[in-house]
Amino acid sequence: MSQRIYLSRRQVVRGLLATTAFGVTAKLGTGCTPTPETQATTAGSGDNPLVIGFIYVGPKDDYGYNQAHAEGAAGIAQLPGVRVVDEANVPETTAVEESMRNMIEEDGVTVLFPTSFGYYDPHILKIAQEYPEVQFFHCGGLYQEGVHPDNVGSYFGYIDEAQYIAGVVAGHTSQTGRLGFVAAKPIPQVLRNINSFTLGARSVDPEMTTQVIFTGDWALPVREAEATNSMADQGIDVVTCHVDSPKVVMETAQKRGIFCSGYHANQAELAPQGYLTGAEWDWTQVYTNYVEMIRAGKTLQNGGIPHLVRGGLQDGFLKLSPYGNAVSADAKQSADAAKAEFMDGDMIVYRGEMKDNTGKVVIPAGKNFQQQDQELEKMNWLVTGVVGNVSS
C-alpha cells in the first residue's frame, strides 16, 4: 500500500514546502501594510457604579510592590459606588493587552490602573488608542505630552523621602556603622532610593557606609537571600532593599539576627524582632484622589485630571511602617524631625556640593534639586558612602 504512493508522496512534500514557502513570503509582504483596527466600542460610561480595573504583574500577597497596589485597590473598593475588578500575575506581554481588553469589554471598566512599569510601552499605549473613552493611569510611566494618547496618565511617588527617614533610623540603630542595600537593577528609581537611604544615615553619622548588591532582576529570591547572608557575614547590621518582594530579605535578616528596614509594604510580621521601619506606598490615598476627581466629572481627556501626578510624604503618597521595638527614642526623635521637614516642604535631600562614590562632583556647589526635578529621575550615580558601582 505504501509502495504505490511512495513516489507521489515525495512530490506532495515538495509541493507543500514550496507553497508554504510562498505563503510565508506573501504574508511577510502583506505584513508591512499596517492594518489599523477600528472597533466601535461601547464601554459603560454612564452614572452607574464606577468600575475600576487593576492589573498586577505578581501575586497580590507578595509583601511588596503588588501587595501595596492591591491594598490601594481594596481601599477604594470600599468607597460607595465603586466596583473594583482585578487580575494578578499578568506578564508584560500580549497577555496584559488581553486582560485590559477583557476588563473593558466584559466588565465595563472605564478606568484602568495597570500597575507594572513594563505595561506602559507598548501595551497600554496600544490599547489606549483602541479605546479612547477609557482612562488609563499608569504607575511610574513617563507620559509625553503630544506623543502619547490623551487618555493616558501617569502617577508616581517620591518614595526616596521615606527611604531617607528609614536611613536616619538605620543610622541611629547600626552598631557597626555599615548598612546593606539589596537592589534589583541599577536604574534611576533604585539608585535614588539607595542614595537617599545613605544620605539619611549619614545625616546621623557621616562615617556610615551602605554596601549595595544588585541582584540583576526584580524577583530572584535565591540571590536576594544570598546577598543578605553575605552582608550579615561581613558585619553589616541593618539591611533594606528595593526588589519586588522584600519578603526573603526580611526573613533572612530575621534569621541572621540583624536589623532590617522594609520597602513597598509593611513587612513587620516577617521580622518581629529586627524590623525598624519601612518605606511604604499609600496608594489608597492616591487612588481615592483619582476617584474623587473622576466623580467630579474630571477626566484626562477634558484636562480635569493632570497627566503627570507626582507626590511625596507631603501629598500623602507615602507612609512609614510603625517603628519597631528596636528603635531608640533618639532615633524616633530625629526621624520624626526629618519627617516634619518633608511635610513642611523644607527638606532638600539633593543639595550641592555632592560627590559620587568615585569622587566626581555630581551636583555642583550652590545647586539644589527639589524633589520634583526631572533631573533626579535620570540619576545614574551612587553618592559618597555607598560601596558598590552602577555597572554591576
Binding site: L28, T35, P91, E105
Partner: protein, 358 residues
C-alpha cells in the same frame, strides 16, 4: 495491520479527550473546595477561551508563540534528545532580530522583516545547534547544557540591553532602541492576532512532513530509535544531530523575532516571558508530534486566556489557572500509560511507538 492502525487511531483520539474531561472534573472539585461554583467556572472557561470570536482571538494570540517554541523540544525528541533550551533560543532569536532590524532600518520594510526573520532563525539555530555539537563531539548531556544556555542567553540579553544596545531614553526598563514602526509585523487582517500564529502553523506542518515523510526525517527517527543501529547502517548521526538541533533552535528563534517585531518593538526583559518553558510542556503533551503541538498549543492558550475571568468573575486566586494547567498536564501525561491497554493485540507496540509513524 489495518486493525491495529484503527485501534491506535481510536486510542489517540479517545484517551486525550477522556483525560481532558477527567482533569476538568478534578478541577471542578478543586473549585468547589475553593468556594466557587464549578459549573459557573466551566462556563467562564468556555466563554473566555472559545466562546466568541473575540475570545478565541485571545486564545490564538497566546497559542502563537507556543507552537514555534514547542518545536524546539519536539524535533530533537524524535532523535532521542531532550532539549529544554527553548527560552534561550527565543531570547537569542529576539536579540538577533533586533540587531538586524536596527542595522537595516532604512531598507524597505519587507527586506527588513525578512532580514529580521533570517537573523533570528540563524541565531536561534546556532544557539541550539551548539548544544547538538557539544553533545556529538564532547558527549555533553544536551538537557543540562541547553538548560544552562538559557541562563547565559538571559544574562546576555540583560547585558546587551543594559549596555551596548541600550537606548539611553529607556530609563527604568533598560531596552534596546525601538524598531521603526513601519518595519513591524502587523496583525493578520481582520483580527488582532499577529503573524506569529501563521508562522507557527506553517512551521509545525513543515516539521511534521520533514520528520514523517522525508528520508531525512526517517534517518532522524532511526537514529532516535537506536543510535548504534543507525551508526552501523551508515547514517551520519553527528550531522543529523546538529541539523535537527539547528532547525529546532531556528523555530524558537523565529518565535523571538515575532515577539520583537510584532509585540514589543524592541528587546528587553519582556522577551523572557516563559514561552520557552510552556513550549516544553506543549511538546511533551503532544508527544513530540508537530501537528498535535498546534492543537495542544491552542488548548494551553485557551487555558491561559481563561485565567483572567477566573480571577475577575469567581474571585479565585491568580494561581488557579496554574492549578488547572497542572491538572490537565498531569492527567494527560498519566493517560500515556493507558495506550495499548484497551486493544491487546499489539506486541511490543510501546517500544516502537516513538519510531513509527502515528
Amino acid at each position: 495491520m489495518i486493525n491495529r492502525y484503527n485501534s491506535r487511531n481510536i486510542e489517540a483520539i479517545c484517551i486525550p479527550l477522556a483525560a481532558l474531561l477527567f482533569s476538568l472534573l478534578l478541577f471542578g472539585i478543586f473549585c468547589a473546595f475553593a468556594g466557587a461554583d464549578p459549573f459557573g467556572v466551566y462556563a467562564s472557561i468556555y466563554r473566555s477561551a472559545f466562546g466568541s470570536w473575540r475570545a478565541f482571538q485571545n486564545t490564538l494570540l497566546r497559542a502563537a508563540p507556543l507552537m514555534l517554541s514547542s518545536l524546539c523540544t519536539a524535533l530533537p525528541a524524535r532523535l532521542g534528545l531532550i532539549i529544554i533550551g527553548n527560552e534561550g533560543a527565543i531570547v537569542v532569536g529576539g536579540l538577533g532580530a533586533v540587531a538586524a532590524g536596527l542595522t537595516l532600518s532604512t531598507a524597505p520594510p519587507t527586506i527588513v522583516q525578512v532580514a529580521m526573520a533570517i537573523a533570528a532563525i540563524l541565531c536561534g539555530g546556532l544557539w541550539i545547534g551548539a548544544v547538538g555539537a557539544l553533545r556529538h563531539y564532547r558527549g555533553v548531556n544536551e538537557t543540562i547544557s541547553s538548560l544552562l544556555l538559557n541562563y547565559i542567553a538571559i544574562a546576555l540579553l540583560n547585558h546587551l540591553v543594559g549596555g551596548p544596545m541600550r537606548d539611553p531614553s529607556s530609563l527604568n526598563k533598560p531596552s534596546s532602541y525601538p524598531i521603526a514602526q513601519i518595519n513591524m509585523l502587523g496583525d493578520i487582517p481582520g483580527t488582532r492576532v499577529h503573524y506569529g500564529l501563521i508562522y507557527g502553523l506553517v512551521a509545525c506542518v513543515i516539521a511534521y512532513f520533514l520528520i514523517q515523510r522525508t528520508t531525512f526525517g526517517f534517518a532522524a527517527r532511526v537514529a532516535g530509535g537506536n543510535i548504534r543501529a543507525a551508526r552501523i547502517a551508515g547514517l551520519p548521526v553527528g550531522k543529523l544531530t546538529m541539523m535537527i538541533c539547528f532547525l529546532a533552535g531556528s523555530c524558537a528563534g523565529l518565535a523571538g523575532m515575532v515577539e520583537v517585531a510584532a509585540v514589543h518593538g524592541r528587546a528587553n526583559e519582556s522577551l523572557n516571558a516563559n514561552y520557552g518553558y510552556s513550549g516544553i510542556l506543549v511538546a511533551f503533551i503532544a508527544r513530540h508530534n508537530p501537528l498535535a503541538a498546534t492543537l495542544v498549543a491552542i488548548l494551553l492558550g485557551g487555558i491561559l486566556a481563561s485565567g483572567g475571568s477566573l480571577q475577575r468573575s469567581h474571585d479565585l486566586p491568580d494561581a488557579t489557572v496554574l492549578v488547572f494547567q497542572g491538572l490537565v498536564f498531569l492527567v494527560v501525561l498519566f493517560s500515556e500509560s493507558l495506550y495499548g491497554r484497551f486493544f491487546k493485540e499489539g506486541s511490543g507496540v510501546r517500544g516502537q511507538r516513538s519510531a513509527v509513524t502515528i
